[in-house]
Symmetry: C2
Subunit: 406 residues, 2 copies
């Protein structure tokens, strides 16, 4: 018996199950693999032997994974210790690998999950275990090294840009000035907030964009917004949740007391509300603060077709690479051409990816630090291309209902 195991880890995305389907379908169809197991709640669930058997599942529900957002197998944020310091988790994991005859393990996740792939594959090599371990990338933040971009990002970017366009139409309806502050995910990397620039061409409201890659300066920000408001009256400010002052402190922490209320208490909540308050006090009473919240990472209903297909392909190729004998690697996406867009998959040593974070290139931010250059736009554009027709039932998405209980 040669079985395989697949698991998901870290924050969910709209297309992480498209990748799961790529793995599961390819493995189910392969003659070299007998059973296809899923670990429920990531590697942490595998330690507790929470196993799902895909061979027993209705193939229709499996196929629906392609258009089902969030981690269908559940997820975890579990960091393995260095095996030289504490081997206990490794022993238990490999005991379970043996118990279930797991010869292939696919871990779908971001940079922390690649750390797990790295450690497990190094441990397997040292101990001489016959198992191929492949990482499959996902993250809405697009902050993974060694790949042009990451599955999950394109759909989140499309959601952000589309919602900004719609919001911009909504904001423009009255004959009055308005400043909308939109808080977008991205603690360290500004790719997602940057993708709001894609909405720019529709140009109903003037847009300003602030990313964590540029140190935030409250005075300059207020000057930017104020002069944009004077000129355009209808403004959208798109801001990464992770923007920071030059001292490295997050704006949402408000350590510099820029947004203290009249009682001297620090404002609660995210950066959007902090900036909203300051703008309301100093520039314009008509301020709306909008948080895209988890919707930006779980909205499958207007996903990027490019993203869904690439996510699927990454899962599929992970299995193919493993069957070719590869291990300790992550599937990556190489961009061959931007326009027309062509990409192909490749492999990269997972040690080059694990625990690193890619940033939005400074050279793609305009000189005044509040917008994205044409080159940046050209990078982003193909990733949101194409629409999917998700299966529906009674007017609502028909998501996969695997026979497991999260």
């Amino acid at each position: 018996m040669k079985n395989c195991l697949v698991a998901q880890s870290g924050g969910p995305t709209a297309v992480i199950n498209s990748t799961l389907l790529g793995v599961v379908k390819t493995a189910l169809e392969s003659e070299k693999i007998d059973r296809v197991y899923g670990s429920i709640y990531g590697i942490e669930g595998f330690l507790k032997e929470k196993i799902f058997d895909f061979n027993k599942e209705d193939i229709k529900e499996i196929e629906l994974l392609k258009y089902t957002p969030s981690s269908a197998l559940g997820s975890c944020r579990y960091k393995l210790k260095d095996f030289n310091e504490d081997e206990s988790d490794y022993r238990n994991i490999f005991l379970n690998f043996e118990k279930y005859n797991i010869r292939y393990f696919f871990y779908i996740g971001g940079n922390d999950s690649m750390d797990t792939v790295d450690k497990l594959s190094r441990y397997a090599k040292i101990k001489g275990y016959d198992i191929k371990i492949i990482g499959v990338p996902k993250t809405i933040d697009n902050d993974l090294f060694g790949t042009d971009h990451t599955p999950g990002f394109g759909s989140a970017a499309k959601y952000v840009a589309t919602s900004i366009m719609e919001l911009s139409r909504d904001a423009a309806v009255y004959d009055k000035g308005i400043i909308n502050i939109v808080e977008i995910m991205g603690r360290n990397a500004g790719f997602l907030a940057a993708s709001s620039a894609l909405a720019g061409y529709d140009g109903v409201c003037k847009q300003l964009i602030y990313l964590p890659e540029i140190a935030f300066d409250m005075d300059k920000f207020l000057q930017d917004v104020s002069s944009a408001y004077e000129k355009h009256k209808k403004i959208i400010v798109a801001v990464s949740e992770g923007i920071r002052y030059s001292d490295g402190s997050f704006v949402f922490e408000d350590k510099n007391n820029k947004a203290h209320d009249k009682f001297g208490h620090s404002q609660m909540g995210g950066v959007g509300r902090i900036l909203g308050k300051v703008v309301k006090d100093k520039i314009c009473k008509r301020v709306k603060v909008i948080e895209f919240n988890v919707l930006q990472r779980c909205a499958m209903h207007f996903a990027s077709k490019t993203d869904v297909e690439e996510a699927y392909r990454c899962g599929r190729d992970a299995v193919n690479y493993a069957l070719m004998g590869e291990s300790g690697k992550m599937v990556c996406i190489n961009r061959i051409n931007s326009s027309p867009y062509i990409s192909e998959n490749g492999l990269i040593d997972v040690s080059e990816v694990a625990n690193k974070e890619k940033k939005f290139p400074i050279s793609w931010i305009t000189k005044d630090g509040n917008n994205i250059t044409e080159e940046g736009i050209e990078y982003l554009k193909p990733l949101i291309a194409g629409e999917v027709n998700i299966p529906t039932e009674n007017g609502l998405p028909r998501f996969s209902r695997l026979n497991l209980c999260l």
Copy 2:
């Protein structure tokens, strides 16, 4: 010359421009109407002679209105005074009607806008002006009298239910309990929050729903949530922004000091954050507060096909009714059958609609006051049916760009 005027009023919806297209296209094609004017920023803009000439616009951009959210002509919240007390606005409006040879006026809006239709048509009758004035319904709140439902509601309901489904998938990924509080629009009528029940069948998280139609009781709420949490661990609480205590005060005002912070200050913000704080203090630390915000009323990208088509039809029939000589009426939608769903348009005296508010029927709320009955679901279901394929360009919606500057 017999010209017509169309305007939009009140809060925007995803499909208010589908209605606009229904009016404009039918009027442009009619031999009885010469020019088709739009008033920019509603009746208030008409007072300032802000006029848009549809005959001069590219027909392609006009056709794109069908899938363009928010009020393309801009909007206002302008209440006409009683003409027995102050006739000045009426004089100016009718001077402009004469100046532009307006013989037909179509006002797309909610109950306040129907008050304008009512007053203008009564004034015209008294003064003997030859003008037909027809109201065309829109509102995401679905609170208009005299119509089974209102264009704009179905698409908002579909957005709410779909987002709740996606959110519910997102919330379930970790092996931990979580309580999500989702704040949904609806100051006085709970239709939109009720539509979150449509997501119920997908059943990943246990859902509780609170509407303004039932007096809110904080102790009962905490008991509901607490016992749901004990049993199901993963909970979504959908709540109308307008829920009220039995004394009539809004929960978000927090007059009863239920959610005061430790310094004794009232919490800022909406009802979601108020409830989130109380739940965090008393039940579970893992609480997420999500506001759907204006996105729920401007999201065209996953609109209800039924809603888009009905919105269009209401605009079309408004013109047809006016050409038949009707005035002082509102187009309404009559439900002939629920399953299969059949509806047809009708007319109702606008005086029966103006300034009134319909509520979500109490009989459609379950006895424990925190969910929707099957009968309620059956009412809601057909309104979100069907998907539209909106025109796209570079992966983003291609909205209409009328040659006017909002």
